[in-house]
């Protein structure tokens, strides 16, 4: 008897889980809050400030989605996740979307049953060396000692790169970025390797950042993007097109400064009109109000503005746009058209 009750309860729970997974948008609207998974803290990408308000490049995606869906960029419950808990948090339904500088890979997309909705930052593994070493290319690092985080894809990429170029290295295994920073500064290794954005952030924290250089070689592809669960394509569409709206807004010249003005009356650019909802019914097609994209853009501006404010060249992290420039400016950011 007891067992049947227990199994029954489990079944009900499973059915409830299936039902709720199918309509994330309704859940979010009923809750009045978006549950967004972020990292527990990564410079420039997500971290709470002195007042406990989350800020950063990944956080901006969550806020844009909340603004598009709920009309309120602050209606976000940020759920901090570690590298180990992020996927279970998403799979179990604890969070509606994950924006946690997560690399889009084949197995994560298919085997783990997630849907990457796009790329908000094209990263890649790089090398940092002290200027005093006199190295200008990673291919000159023959025989170098390399600080490397164990158990990550960076470790495998490193081995591939050195084997391909037929040079040797000696790994110095480290556990965390903080440890790597200390080891590198203490001279335990000649070079430190991790994602280029991480290197830039690490270098920015040094006492004398100018004494260190990041080598031009990028040895891996790390497309970082927000993701949602399999099984609710409507919700995936909303997150995907919110991200695309930010990217398109930059391409079309819609900024946080002029978005209100452009949305108040139809402009002479049809695509801007469709994006901002003054023409056509794109909002209706994804189940949102007509001005959804306007609200998303009004939060923190377009993609370029978000980039500049959080990780751009005028911040301590000082990342150049590089690959993350618009396709019209030599980068590979390319949003499908709003039509």
């Amino acid at each position: 008897m007891k067992r049947t009750v227990f199994l029954g309860a489990l079944t009900v729970a499973g059915v409830a889980a299936g039902a709720s997974a199918a309509a994330t948008l309704d859940d979010v609207k009923a809750r009045g809050k978006l549950n967004c998974g972020v990292t527990t803290g990564l410079v420039g990408f997500a971290a709470p400030d002195a007042n406990g308000v989350w800020e950063g490049f990944d956080v901006a995606v969550c806020r844009a989605v909340a603004a598009a869906v709920l009309g309120d960029p602050t209606a976000v419950e940020f759920v901090p996740t570690t590298g180990k808990t992020r996927f279970t948090a998403l799979a179990s339904g604890e969070i509606d979307m994950l924006a946690r500088n997560t690399t889009w890979t084949f197995s994560r997309d298919t085997d783990l049953k997630f849907e990457f909705v796009g790329v908000n930052y094209y990263d890649g593994q790089g090398f940092m060396v002290p200027k005093a070493l006199g190295v200008s290319s990673a291919k000159e690092l023959d025989g170098a000692t390399v600080c490397i985080q164990t158990g990550t894809t960076t470790e495998l990429n490193l081995a591939d790169f050195f084997r391909k170029n037929n040079i040797n290295y000696e790994p110095v295994p480290i556990e965390t970025n903080a440890e790597g920073q200390q080891q590198y500064l203490a001279g335990a290794c000649d070079t430190y390797t991790t994602d280029a954005s991480g290197l830039a952030a690490t270098r920015a924290a040094f006492e004398n950042p100018t004494e260190h250089v990041i080598l031009p070689e990028i040895v891996s592809k790390e497309p970082l993007g927000p993701l949602v669960r399999h099984g609710d394509n409507e919700w995936g569409d909303i997150v995907r097109w919110t991200l695309n709206a930010l990217i398109s807004a930059e391409e079309l010249g819609v900024t946080s400064a002029n978005v209100e003005e452009m949305a108040s009356s139809p402009t002479n650019s049809p695509e801007i009109n469709r994006l901002l909802g003054t023409e056509g019914n794109l909002g209706e097609m994804i189940g949102l109000e007509a001005d959804w994209a306007k609200r998303a853009i009004a939060v923190g501006g377009n993609y370029g503005e978000v980039f500049e404010r959080n990780i751009g060249e005028n911040t301590p992290i000082g990342l150049a746009r590089g690959l993350n420039a618009q396709w019209t400016d030599g980068g590979i950011l390319y949003s499908p058209p709003f039509r």
């Binding site: 527990t40 803290g41 990564l42 901090p80 180990k84 200390q182 924290a205």
Partner: protein, 429 residues
């Protein structure tokens, strides 16, 4: 005989001379303790050199420390190349280190008050000879007061929880004469039914006598470490006693349940249990079931600590001579009386150092919750503070502060336990 005269006879006492300089005061102490042999003298000089060297090199770091600056780079500008700590991170983020980054700052007085009351509540338990036993009433009320202060919400919730406990105790009292085991179960069931029923009353009256509620997710900092440490230690001691007695029981089912539980929990790392609490349980519960994360973690850590404390207490029980058990039996005491009056007071006294050892270790283990993305003090440092653009790169100051807090607490616990051992000493040494 007469020619054999004594040439000198002292007729009065000499005045006392002061002892030689080398055999008194500082010089004597130095000679005995530091320079008793050439080898010791050499060791003394070398250690003195090392100590002075450390002090000289560390002192400027403390003395030049910057306490007021908006960011690490500004700190470095102020220091202008000199050696010095950037303690400004502590003066700017102390509230986040202590309470987490989301606890509303205007409510800091509430956990603060709960912390102070903890000492009032703990005093009659810890210093039972110095305080009137009537204060134990407050100790019994304290968990409900502290819950209400820290989490807020309606006063009815802790009041009904308390009433449930009282009802359970009442049912236990009424039925204990029939069978002690059945009485425990009956009391528990009565309390459970009362709690479930009271849920229907408290839910619609959430705003009655309410103070601003704070959800568990908003808690963090050293507060979490203290909460987990205090709650789990105080829960795991009674559970540990029950498990230890259960393991020695002659009833096979109880014995085997206890043995399996203890051996299983001791064979699994705490971090695994925490992952289960955080991650695996989420799969079994329907989405939206808000089974509080702190509650889950408390359950797991309590299970872990009880298993260890049970083994410590089993050691205490085993150390008692068999005659003590037989003496209790010969006096005609039943099991409960024998345990309560003869066995446990002695066994627990023997177990104190072991229990304190587990308690101190457990308290430090609470920092492991940072791996399941709870922002305890270490989680706060590793996550939000080191990830902020202003403070990325400050390590020594932050981790030193955390170490200081833990040292003060753990040293206090250890000193108390030594005092307690001296208080309970009844043998003649």
């Amino acid at each position: 005989m007469s020619d054999n005269q004594i040439s000198f006879v002292r007729t009065h006492m000499l005045p006392e001379a002061p002892p030689p300089v080398a055999a008194t005061g500082v010089v004597k102490w130095l000679r005995e303790n530091l320079f008793s042999s050439p080898a010791n003298s050499l060791l003394t000089i070398v250690s003195l050199y090392v100590v002075i060297d450390i002090v000289i090199s560390a002192a400027p770091w403390f003395l030049n420390g910057v306490w007021d600056s908006p960011s690490l780079s500004a700190c470095r500008d102020i220091l202008d190349g000199n050696v010095g700590g950037c303690f400004a991170v502590l003066s700017e983020r102390w509230n986040q280190l202590l309470f987490g980054f989301k606890y509303p700052s205007e409510l800091y007085w509430r956990p603060g008050l709960a912390f102070i009351l903890l000492f009032v509540a703990g005093a009659p338990l810890l210093f039972f000879k110095l305080f009137p036993s009537k204060m134990l009433i407050f100790t019994g009320l304290y968990p409900f007061i502290a819950y209400w202060l820290i989490w807020g919400g309606s006063l009815l919730v802790p009041v009904f929880a308390l009433l449930g406990v009282l009802l359970g105790a009442f049912v236990y009292k009424r039925t204990v004469s029939a069978s002690a085991g059945m009485a425990v179960i009956a009391g528990f069931v009565a309390a459970l039914i009362f709690w479930i029923l009271s849920g229907f009353i408290t839910a619609p009256m959430a705003n009655v006598l309410a103070i601003e509620p704070v959800p568990s997710r908003d808690m963090g900092g050293f507060m979490i470490n203290l909460m987990l440490g205090v709650v789990c230690v105080s829960l795991s001691v009674p559970f540990g006693i029950m498990l230890a007695l259960g393991r020695q029981s002659s009833m096979p089912i109880i014995k085997w349940i206890c043995v399996v539980f203890i051996e299983f929990i001791r064979g699994v790392p705490l971090i695994t249990l925490l992952f289960v609490a955080n991650v695996v349980l989420a799969y079994f519960l329907p989405p939206g079931t808000a089974f509080d994360l702190i509650l889950r973690v408390i359950i797991m850590i309590t299970m872990f600590a009880s298993a260890y404390i049970a083994e410590v207490i089993r050691g205490g029980l085993a150390a008692l001579p068999r005659g003590q058990y037989e003496a209790a039996d010969s006096l005609g005491l039943d099991y409960a009386q024998a345990m309560q009056l003869i066995i446990l007071p002695q066994a627990l006294k023997i177990s104190i150092p072991g229990i304190v050892n587990v308690a101190v270790g457990l308290f430090k283990d609470t920092t492991l919750v940072s791996v399941i993305s709870m922002f305890d003090i270490v989680g706060m440092i590793r996550g939000p503070i080191l990830a902020s653009a202003e403070w990325n790169g400050v390590y020594w100051e932050l981790f030193g502060f955390a170490a200081l807090l833990f040292f003060v607490t753990c040293y206090g616990i250890s000193q108390y336990s030594q005092w307690l051992e001296r208080q309970l000493q009844t043998d003649h040494r």
